[in-house]
């Protein structure tokens, strides 16, 4: 770091933040341009949730078109074929890059890493602030595409050229450029954020905190950040090539002038597949912390979970071409990628077994966060096993680009992004806002989300197996896909979506009323072990004004036989 900051005996950077406590911060210093990791986390969290509402609204609009072709969709109007393409494209892009990533990695990473490792802030608070500002800019850029001539980009979230590079094919010129620019900026934001996560976790741990004492969620966010950094390079390069092709007349992906459209697919999926694990791992970490707390159990095999996470991470770099089995690449490649893809089932299965084994012999309380954590495991199991169908090359010939694929990845991404977020948010809510959430409303919200979720996507497995392809806005044009039972299933899925979206109103209602007038939260309402529960609720700027905590043991010492209490906080001397 360029600035010289006084370093305390225990190796922590002091000064910067504690000093802030001495003068009154203005509104903009505190809320708009904050340096405090918790406030930056909140900015990421609420921007992510806002984008989730937009992504959810897009899903509502195109699913209404699918269920009731040609009707005027309330809030949108008639969905034209061009609208349909840009809705599905931006639903996918926004949900992955502007919801899953900012919330799971940036918001939870920012909030939890310093608090859980016993630091007063990130190592580079100004880079942290810059990271959010670049992210906000990227969000503005992607949404602005809806207001330019030609409309938002509609070439799918995978943006395969030449459709994405030539305005004469996609009919969106500036919209396509804004799309790729936004994705590019968003990645820059996460590179900046990732630097902080890794450095802070390695350098600012509380005295006594060894590598194996770090809570799983922190580990997972760090591993995810490393995976992101290793995988994003090719796509950033691809993004620049795409921008050049769109605007400067180059032909990296243009076959007419000697380019190759499949090059983009390699660059995209070399990033795109590890990306699944980039967002998966933080959710897996959140679930570990929530599950151990509410089953009062030690995590079954702490190191096993870590090694399996690293194993899936490494393997995730070797599987990208399973997205391209039928893309016209050399068919012999499919054999190699089938083997590597199916191998991932080994560490992932181990991870799931470890979680199920953690429940064994526990003392389980079904609080709202625990319900979400358990739902994560169940739904993710379905997502995992259906992946086998698609990883098997011979079967993918038929299944590729059907609704089976769509149902499969929603069964992986939804548990990750939505269920994982709700598990973490409801668990750390008392710490974040100093109030308890209403548990009854929380449970109602849980059931009204989880049942319709299955109602939406289980029928899509059936439709996919029956041959329904993706991204077709009106199946009436295809006699074999317009059968009455299929249309009934589409309508059922859409009605379920409406119920699920409606249930989210309940969530926001619960958040706002609990925040305003919920019961005051004590420091450690769940009797949990990790260090964040030793700070005030909510923690002040600098986290521990009286001095940073020490760490004496790992985070999962629940129900230790030598102890009367069933928990043993990390900062409590033996």
């Amino acid at each position: 770091m360029a600035e010289s900051i006084p370093v305390e005996e225990n190796g922590h950077h002091a000064g910067d933040h504690r000093d802030h406590g001495h003068h009154e911060m203005s509104f903009s210093e505190k809320y708009i341009f904050p340096l405090d990791h918790k406030m930056i986390a909140m900015q990421y969290m609420f921007t992510g949730m806002f984008m989730a509402l937009i992504g959810g609204f897009f899903a509502y609009a195109f699913r209404m078109q699918l269920a009731f072709p040609g009707i005027e969709v309330p809030g949108w109007g008639v969905v034209s074929p061009a609208d349909y393409n840009s809705l599905v494209t931006n639903h996918g892009t926004i949900m992955i890059f502007w919801v899953a990533m900012p919330v799971l990695i940036a918001a939870f990473g920012n909030y939890l890493i310093p608090l859980m490792i016993g630091a007063d802030d990130m190592v580079f608070p100004k880079i942290n602030r810059l990271s959010y500002q670049v992210f906000l800019l990227s969000a503005i850029v992607i949404l602005s595409a809806f207001f330019v001539e030609g409309g938002a980009f509609g070439g799918a979230w995978t943006a395969y050229p030449p459709l994405s590079t030539k305005a004469e094919y996609s009919l969106t010129g500036l919209g396509s450029t804004l799309w790729i620019t936004a994705v590019f900026l968003e990645f820059v934001a996460f590179l900046l954020g990732g630097i902080n996560f890794i450095t802070t976790c390695m350098n600012s741990r509380a005295p006594g905190m060894k590598m194996w004492d770090i809570p799983m969620v922190v580990w997972m966010i760090v591993i995810a950040s490393i995976l992101f950094m290793l995988s994003v390079g090719p796509l950033l390069a691809g993004g620049i090539m795409m921008l050049f092709d769109q605007n400067l007349g180059t032909a990296f992906f243009d076959p007419d002038k000697g380019g190759d459209p499949i090059l983009w697919q390699h660059l995209f999926w070399f990033f795109g597949h590890p990306e699944v694990y980039v967002v998966l791992l933080p959710a897996v970490g959140i679930v570990a912390d929530v599950m151990t707390t509410f089953s009062r159990k030690k995590l079954f095999g702490y190191k096993t979970v870590l090694y399996t996470a690293i194993g899936t991470g490494v393997l995730s770099f070797t599987v990208w071409a399973h997205h391209q089995f039928i893309a016209g690449i050399d068919p012999r490649m499919a054999n190699v990628f089938t083997v590597t893809t199916l191998l991932i089932s080994v560490p992932i299965a181990e991870m799931m077994f470890v979680y199920i084994a953690t429940l064994y012999g526990g003392s389980i309380t079904l609080t709202t966060p625990m319900l979400w954590a358990l739902a994560f495991i169940f739904e993710f199991l379905i997502g995992g096993i259906t992946g086998i169908f698609l990883g098997a090359s011979g079967n993918d010939i038929y299944m590729h680009d059907t609704y089976f694929v769509l149902a499969h990845f929603h069964y992986t991404f939804y548990p990750i992004a939505i269920i994982g977020t709700y598990a973490g948010f409801t668990y750390w809510f008392p710490k974040m806002f100093g109030r308890m959430m209403n548990d009854t409303l929380g449970k109602l919200h849980f059931w009204l989300t989880i049942i319709p979720f299955n109602g939406i996507f289980l029928p899509l497995f059936v439709l996919g197996a029956a041959g329904q392809h993706r991204r077709i806005y009106d199946y009436q044009n295809f006699p074999e896909l317009a059968l009455p039972w299929m249309q009934d299933m589409r309508q059922f899925a859409t009605v379920m979506l409406l119920i699920m979206l409606g249930a989210q109103v309940l969530f926001f209602y619960n958040v706002i009323t609990s925040w305003m007038s919920g019961e005051k939260a004590p420091k450690n309402p769940w009797k949990a072990n990790s260090l964040e529960w030793t700070a005030d609720s909510p923690p002040p700027h600098g986290n521990w004004p009286e001095g940073l905590p020490n760490c004496y043991r790992g985070p999962y010492e629940y129900s230790h036989p030598d102890r009367e209490e069933d928990y043993w906080p990390q900062n409590e001397p033996a």
Binding site: A82, N85, G155, A156, P162, L163, Y169, L171, D256, S295, K297, K298, F300, G301, Y302, T304, I326, A327, G328, A334, N335, T338, L342, L343, S345, V346, A349, F353, A357, L359, Y360, G362, S363, I364, L374, F378, L381, T386, I388, F389, A392, S393, G394, N395, I397, Y398, H400, D401, A465, G467, H469, R471, Y473, D474, N477, F478, E480, L481, S559, D566
Partner: protein, 241 residues
């Protein structure tokens, strides 16, 4: 078995192999899934918090516990191996190994229509009696076809669900594959790769006939194509004069 109940027909020689693979995978993945769900729900029910009962302290590092996790890998690896071998076998037959052809068709995709070129009565491509049809592919049962797939603008995907066949069309390349129809009838051809605004309006039909009916069709269309070609060359000659 499972797929059959959902789809209208399996109409190519390899469709049955893909269906069988689907069934085997379904059975194999349901075994660990059912066991995992059973353990998961029974643990939740059995170990609900009770007053005065403390949870067990299990670190998960002792061999007597870890062996349960490790042993579970053997069936999973075995299932993976079976699936890999079957999947690659099917893949090899459908995509990698190109059997000798008996006839061929050209499939040309563009925004947003399919053009199919059939060889005429001489069963040779590139002659004057070739039959060109838009959004209609005509084939006969019992004939092994090679398709030559092209795209004129963006990526498309030649998908014939009844054949269990799918292949991307790439501008700048000609991709060769094969199929052999087994059942007569008329079915959907779909574009399965997003190709712009008209992607949802790009349906075509495949007409699978018996060899006799197909020969009759070819003869009729071929003669018409030939007459058209003659007419065109005549008019060019006239224009030249």
């Amino acid at each position: 078995m499972i797929l059959d109940s959902l789809l209208p027909a399996a109409a190519s020689t390899y469709a049955g192999d893909i269906d069988r693979l689907f069934d085997v995978i379904t059975v194999l993945v349901m075994i660990p899934f059912t066991i995992a769900c059973f353990l998961f729900f029974s643990f939740i029910l059995k170990f609900k918090a009770k007053d005065g009962v403390k949870a067990l302290y299990i670190t998960g590092t002792e061999h007597r516990y870890m062996k349960w996790i490790h042993r579970a890998h053997f069936p999973i690896l075995t299932f993976d191996l079976i699936i890999v071998v079957m999947a690659i076998n099917v893949w090899y037959d459908v995509k990698q190994d190109l059997p000798e052809m008996e006839s061929e068709v050209r499939v040309i995709a563009q925004q947003w229509a399919w053009t199919f070129v059939h060889p005429g009565a001489d069963n040779t491509m590139g002659t004057a009696d070739d039959i060109t049809k838009v959004n209609e592919l005509h084939v006969s049962t019992g004939t092994l076809y090679h398709y030559k797939l092209e795209a004129l603008d963006v990526l498309h995907n030649f998908s014939v669900p009844v054949f269990r066949l799918k292949q991307d069309a790439i501008p700048g390349r000609v991709i060769t594959g094969w199929f052999e129809p087994t059942v007569t009838g008329e079915y959907d051809i779909q574009c399965a790769e997003i190709c712009g605004i008209g992607h949802g309006l790009m349906p075509a039909r495949i007409h699978i006939s018996s060899p006799e009916a197909y020969s009759a069709w070819v003869e009729r269309e071929s003669a018409a194509a030939l007459a058209r070609a003659m007419g065109e060359s005549k008019s060019i000659e006239l224009a030249g004069n």
